[in-house]
Symmetry: C2
Subunit: 150 residues, 2 copies
DNA sequence: ATCCTTGCAAAGCATTTGCAGTCAC
DNA sequence: GTGACTGCAAATGCTTTGCAAGGAT
């Protein structure tokens, strides 16, 4: 649900020695226009509406370029396909175990799903296991109940 | 690092109408004997030492049976392979983005990596998005730094 | 003009499936 | 004896790759 900023995309690509193309612009627009965290296939279907000759491989490559530029994140799960999110700020996700769909915790509640991770714990982890923490992932798993059903 | 309880395995399988076999027993032993969260392939290699005729497909099926019995959990990631863990209690993981390896947050610190998830937030999520939360996943991602290197 | 990107088809890889023979109960 | 399990090979599904033609700078 973000606004796709074309100029920003162009700059971000240039910064990595990559080129601005029709295909990448459309992929980025599609990704910004939804909060459904689509799969590559789902992005492909939408991009194809405006760019009928696009190939799935190009969509994969474009999504990869966006991730490299820091304009998208890839959410990987083993079951089924990876999902992509133009919201690069860390936020908690809800994952439906039955359909594989991923959605966001409603904005109003997202702040209240917080991971307590004191600095000294990060330091302790690094000291004890040599592991440098650079990011985190918080996910609530369950199932989506059809509206109106308990 | 748990003790593989054969009798428990036998009962857990029976409860689901499944049978106790040499292969399943070995798979369970291998899984209990490590805290490295091995992939199916890694389990296969170890089981094959004692049961040379075992097939990879059988290891997959056995791991699946363990998960169904509630004696193991499957940790899925999109990059590379799924990993399996005989520790079914929820606990935070460390994931190395470079090698894909998964390890546990050291026991002494695990309690201090806690997700704040009040009941009313769970209720709010269910009300607002129809999503019933049944589990959660907390993961610290980063990289493992070779010992002695900052 | 350079060299990055596209679109196609083929390859790759983890995982699953179909099936005949075997084994647990 | 019955029905579940094994091991093999083939199939599946997502993703990546090689490459010639096309496009961005």
């Amino acid at each position: 649900m973000l606004k796709a900023d074309t100029a920003m995309l162009r700059e971000a690509l240039a910064r990595q020695g990559q080129r601005f193309t029709r295909q990448r612009a459309r992929v980025y627009e599609v990704l910004c226009a939804t909060d459904r965290h689509p799969t590559a296939e789902e992005v492909y279907v939408k991009v194809k509406r405006e760019l009928p000759s696009v190939s799935l491989a190009t969509v994969y490559k474009s999504l990869d370029a966006l991730v490299q530029c820091g304009l998208a994140q890839k959410l990987t799960y083993g079951d089924g396909s990876a999902r992509f999110d133009a919201n690069i700020k860390h936020h908690p996700h809800l994952r439906d175990l039955e359909t594989g769909q991923v959605l966001d915790v409603p904005m109003e509640l997202a702040d209240r799903v917080a991971l307590r991770l004191p600095d000294d714990v990060i330091a302790g982890i690094q000291k004890m296991s040599g592991f440098e923490v650079t990011g985190l992932r918080v996910e609530l798993v369950g199932r989506r109940v059809p509206a109106g059903v308990s």
